[in-house]
Symmetry: D3
Subunit: 281 residues, 6 copies
């Protein structure tokens, strides 16, 4: 079970999203047509199969517009659902529920879409040792949430930002005068708790990266053959990560090369929403 | 040409995204490997065909990390690009450019993805009178940006939130005691600058909606035949909006029924990113 | 009954106002002179006749400084009160009540002042079909609150900002090349949920505005005679709004011309506070 | 000349107000009807006589929507103007000027209204030694601005909040067991840089307040006779402040009693806006 | 007992500190190793003797990560503790307690360090009439908290900022053309609730300061002899404040000169943390 | 040379600190006594020997109150200075400089104090391979700044928060059922870019920690003998970090045991300010 998001992050995200949707005038339709004392029961349910993420955000949205609303979680983050499965069961003021509906669904649909996409890759690589991880290709401002959704889908997280791991790419290598020098510079500059990863795109760069002491080597856009060779050359010295052209179709073959990590931007930057809906009962 | 985003919204979004990516420690890789005085030239270019949106966000990101960086816009918001087309041409401190790279690409890729998806629907409906519009199914916290991207793709915006137009749905109708009563309640409650839209899913509801004085009627998930009949029955009294099952394949037929507006959640909640990249030159 | 303000807006406004009044050192007088365990009873009551608005802000202020304070609402937003009428009945720690007193009164006095001014216009136009509405001439940063107060006084809201309706004024007309062209440009540019209003100050402009498809025509500073003629010429095609020189003395005659809407900046930008006070019991 | 407002306060207030007015969609009218490259000249001028305040806020508003706009200050804060006097002369993109117009006028009109009301009291008390000061009865969130406006009108500021001076009122006295004890408690509790004021409403309380070492005594709602007696009894020991029923009509007589300070809530909580307008030239 | 910090300030400080420590990924160690349902008991206890401050911040930190956690205060702000004394007794989810531990200790240790340093000066001056006060030499962003800690240690507060008292220093005197002129300018400029202090560093400046009407005279870096003479010359006219070279060793002699106030930057800018620790029981 | 702080962090910190010091009324002394057009020259210089940190914050503070002020950096972050050495040379409006003085000095004094304390430990360990690092025992809200100051003093940074490295302590071990199990749980839970550290306080725990695959082992409060033995047992398998009782006196002996890292809370939580002052010239 993935670690829960902190209350502070949830509060920030929900407040911001509700302010955005309610504006200064509020939910004018609901105020005009629904009496203040109408109590309603509703569910949020899946309309398509997928993996759930963002349940805490949905709950917090409903409780922010209606502090007296009761929300019962039927399917927690990480659950695999089929169409019709109820995720949240809700009872409270109809106005509060309706005013929260779209924001709650937007959070849960977006994050469950990421979890579902992640799970598709994870499932396809089932039985191999490779872990599926996300990248920094996330929606600006929502990284903590989207990284969490990847965990809900069975994936793991790459670094959260520019700050928590070194990732040396071609421009860094060029400016440093080569792989060995870039690694040396990085090792001298950063603290002892920080891992150092280096990206290469040719097999003949691997030995220099390993000798230079890289903790992780990112093998970018290499063929299955080259990945297989890289695993052999590595002999367990560094963590090997493969990236580039990772799809549900290709991921199994990549995983079977023996790489440790497969990273995908697609699961965060292009996952379609998971179709969820709210129904009144 | 779509109206530009306000500087205040851009500043907020960019600051938030850079803080998220830089954390407290900053871009540790770049600081370790790139000298402070290295000046670089780079471009942001398209790797796939599409429609551009978010150029102002990309520029603001680059200028926030490097106030002395020069950014030249080669393809503005709304431009149709092909692979290899340069969007931004950049010259400035290498550290500043590298620290901004991912955030700039995340903004521009995400928004150009939405513009590209929108343009696909708009193109498919070319020659009809129907306008393609987005919904409130947007990424929480990014609605202003995503609504802007829809405009860049040739689409139009539906209401921005719960606050700027009335949208009466099934629950509002039920709680009000019918379509006519719901419309009457809304008309009494809201100001004279606010339009009233009502959603129906059966043709036999249309006359009551029109008689009730709806400015806009949303025909949800109706067949092409029913949409065609609705247009005839309407006789230009209300704006007719079709929604449900809108895809690049279906949109033309929907548009040809004569509806005024076709709304799609997909263009904001499920558009894949447009593949853009930064190259140093 | 006017729709309530959202909790998020109330929380923001109250927090900001209390931080402003308490500063870093807090209520140094109360801390010095009132024991921490003193429980007090108090009321907020009207000292002058008027219409109440902002009760939720008063309550939230009292509960923010004293989470254990009990506040009972005796007169809700929209109530017409006479001197001596109790609005809030309060019991809680004396320190908390005293520290909140001025901010609570500032909110309630300011907003009730607006409600009272609005009600004066509404009452004067009683029996006519005209609605009294406010403008964008509000105190910067308090628009949502002041628009709400107008509703409490029996008025209605004009647009909330530059974003939720088109309002074409003389400069827009001049830059567009005339009324018809300005209306056409606007209709092409904005979404189908947005109403278009145009301001004219001469009767001979009306036909062009109506033919051009304006949803609303603002008749600025016209004589009673011209307003009467405008209503006849209009034949119900557009909503007609009168503005300029609207006072308690003039509003009835304006309303009797048959215009639909009378807008007043005075009710928000110049309404004197309603005199309220807190008394310990 | 009153001290200028800090840039940080101005920036905060202007950003907040523009975000409020522009919303997520921006100035849709101006974008629709005014070409991006139209340059305009305009002035902000007085339509009624009064005293100007808030010029820096007007300038900052114009520069925020149009960084390239040139604004020239013709009448600074504190200037007495007559109808037609130009306050700001403006040249820049028409779009930027129009989008800022209402917010700039709202700031300047509101604050100039306060300055004008203050000046009316100050003028009426001309030639006496009494200073006119404001209270904490300000619009929530705008206190720094409104206190500044009072200075522009020739008035002085009372304490800015609960934090920067002690003000002992009836409830504090009652809870402390009398005037002497309340003063003693306060003197023990607060730092040596903090003045202590006590409010009394009967002349027979004055001696105890003076003996108790009050720096300032607030004589609340006393008759002109009692104020005159209080001045005599005081013999210069404390600063004497009169409050209650202070109007343009009464202020001179109050000032002539010899009190040092006359405080008025009206100048901040009930001053009507000063009528200013923007004209394009 | 010092006045408590406002909830709003505590909430701000705690939220900011927890966001800083938790980042986007949260407490990854605790999530990995501690089951969600483990309940723990713990205490925060002193490891060194000292004076406690910041208990409310510690409690708020624990309650923010664990709303169901029970925290019992054993030693309140201002308490003198010896090693082993329990300050807070805690029971709640182990995850919540561990995630809050460091932030709670950082707040309490830092503020208790200031309280302890203050108490050391206060104790050394015991039996004299002099009060020990802090300065504006505080940690940026934490002034309200640190001023509170000084009160917990038995000290008093000097002004909280540039805004709540006048402090005329050498540059102000020079620019004004002398002590008398600077005092006159200040008295004319500021409100009647504001005290005026002037800093002198030579005894021969004292008479001019006193004649000029200074409320407080700061005697900077004067010898014990000069301080003694200053007290005599003053004859109770102004509050006399001594500063410069104030240490636990020197403070008693300074106090015995008869000055009213002794101000120390050291107690806020250089006090070492008080060693506190959390132990699970 | 340590990496510079991001502009966004500097802007946040400086804005917050200036708002704190200026309050709503601003620098009332300077406004009263210094003419608006007085231009001044000043320097910030060291009064005691030490290592400089926070120069960018000092500059940003001066530029925020005076955008036209010229600031020239004479001694950059990391410079070792002696009494009298000029750090910043300043020319600009006297009002702006005086209003910024204390905040600029507070930032630079506090951070230079940390840099100086760090340098003392670094110097004492000179010639050994051990690196001096800081901990999470920082002032709440200032961690990014204080971590930067440690780098200026020649030290390195430990993890920035709970989020960027695993640190398993006694409670985590106990809850997991032992060292091996805790390490296994952590390795399974966290991403491949995250290092895992474990704290032990007895030598006999070391082998289990090493076998369990810890990247770093924290040897807490061990004797010099035990540290020496730990280095031998380790045989380079993990990074060894020593903590506890680290002072200028003890650090060399600890470093000579061969440990890789020596961590000190003292350098951030208890470093006295470095005495800096501003002089007008």
């Amino acid at each position: 079970m993935p670690p829960p998001l902190s209350h502070l992050i949830i509060h920030d995200a929900v407040t911001r999203a509700l302010r955005e949707d309610l504006g200064d005038a509020g939910d004018i339709t609901t105020h005009a047509t629904i009496p203040a004392d109408t109590i309603a029961k509703a569910v949020i349910a899946a309309r398509k199969p997928g993996v759930i993420a963002g349940v805490d955000l949905g709950c917090a949205t409903l409780l922010t517009t209606g502090p007296s609303t009761k929300v019962s979680v039927k399917q927690a983050d990480g659950a695999h659902v089929k169409p019709g499965d109820i995720i949240l069961s809700i009872e409270g003021p109809a106005r509060a529920i309706l005013s929260a509906e779209r924001v709650a669904l937007n959070f849960m649909g977006h994050l469950s879409g990421i979890a579902t996409a992640t799970a598709a890759l994870v499932d396809a690589a089932q039985g191999t040792a490779a872990k599926v991880v996300c990248t920094r290709k996330t929606t600006p401002g929502l990284r903590a949430l989207e990284k969490h959704a990847v965990r809900c889908g069975g994936g793991y997280n790459h670094r959260f930002g520019l700050y928590d791991a070194v990732m040396i790419k071609d421009n860094h290598i060029a400016a440093s005068g080569g792989i060995a020098k870039a690694l040396e510079k990085a090792r001298k500059a950063v603290g002892h708790t920080v891992k150092i990863e280096i990206e290469i795109d040719r097999l003949d760069q691997l030995e220099e990266a390993l000798t230079g002491g890289a903790d992780i080597v990112l093998l970018d856009n290499m063929s299955i053959d080259d990945l297989t060779r890289a695993v052999k050359l590595n002999k367990g010295r560094a963590v090997l990560e493969a990236s580039g052209n990772v799809t549900v179709e290709t991921v199994r073959a990549i995983a079977q090369t023996g790489v440790d990590i497969i990273s995908s931007g697609w699961i965060t930057h292009s996952a379609p929403t998971l179709d969820l809906g709210m129904d009144f009962t």
